[in-house]
Subunit: 141 residues, 2 copies
C-alpha cells in the first residue's frame, strides 16, 4: 500500500474501534469495553463533569458502574473525525442519546497495541447548546 | 540515551509545550499561541460548551477572539500528566482561574513537528464540582 492508502486504512480501523466503544456503551457490554481499553499503555478517562480517572483498573471500575444503567439507552456517535499519527490516533465526535440532539463533545485517543487499536483516553464534555441530529451528523465549527 | 531516559525527556518536552499553551493564554499572546499550534498536521479545538472547531485557520480565529479578554486573567494548569507515543503525545490536566478552584478538565494533544511539540487538539470541559487548588495540584482518582 502507498502512504495515502495506508493512512485511509488506518483511519478506517480507528473509526471502527471508535464505533466499538459506542456499541459497547449502548449494549451495556462491559467485556467489550474491557477489551477495548489498552492493557499496557497508560490510560486516562474523563467522564462528563468528573475529574480524570487514571489507570486501567480504576477506569474499568467506573465503566462497570456506568454500563448497568446505560444498557437501557443508546449513546450515538456523530460526526467522528479520525487523526492518525503512526501508532496513535485520536477521534473527535459528538455524542447523543439515540436520535436526540447531541449534548456532548468527545475526544477518544487510541494506540495500536497487540495488533489492534485500543483506547487510552476518553473525554466527554457538555455542549452549551445541543446540536440537532440532522446538523450534528456532519458538525464542525 | 536509553529508552527510559528518552521517554522521560520526551515527557518533559511535552509538558513544557503544555506550559507554553497556558502561558500564551494567560499572557493573551496570540503570536505564541499561533506558533504552538501545528502548521501541517490537521488540528481540532473544543472550547468549553462549543462544538469542534476544525483546522488551523478557524482555530486561530477562535483564539484571536478569546485572547483579548483572557489577557486580564491567568489560566492555571494543575496536575498535568503527559503520555508520549512516538511522535505524538497527550496531556490531561485541570484548569483554573488563577488560584481559584479548578473548574475545567482538559485534554491537550501534541505532535512532534519541525523539531518541536506542537498542539493538534485541545478540549476543555466543566467540572461538576470545582476542585480546590490544594487538592487539584495532584488530582486524579
Amino acid at each position: 500500500m502507498d502512504e495515502l492508502s495506508e493512512r485511509v486504512a488506518a483511519e478506517a480501523a480507528v473509526l471502527a474501534a471508535n464505533r466499538d466503544f459506542y456499541l459497547a456503551f449502548s449494549n451495556g457490554d462491559f467485556d467489550a469495553m474491557s477489551r477495548l481499553w489498552a492493557a499496557q499503555a497508560p490510560s486516562v478517562c474523563m467522564h462528563p463533569g468528573l475529574p480524570p480517572i487514571v489507570g486501567r483498573s480504576a477506569i474499568l471500575g467506573s465503566w462497570k458502574q456506568i454500563l448497568g444503567p446505560a444498557a437501557e439507552w443508546e449513546l450515538s456517535c456523530r460526526a467522528p473525525r479520525a487523526h492518525v499519527f503512526g501508532n496513535s490516533a485520536f477521534v473527535t465526535c459528538l455524542e447523543a442519546s439515540g436520535d436526540k440532539p447531541a449534548h456532548l463533545a468527545a475526544t477518544n485517543i487510541f494506540v495500536f497495541e497487540d495488533g489492534q487499536w485500543r483506547m487510552v483516553h476518553h473525554q466527554a464534555g457538555p455542549l452549551s447548546e445541543p446540536i440537532p441530529a440532522r446538523s450534528s451528523r456532519n458538525a464542525s465549527n
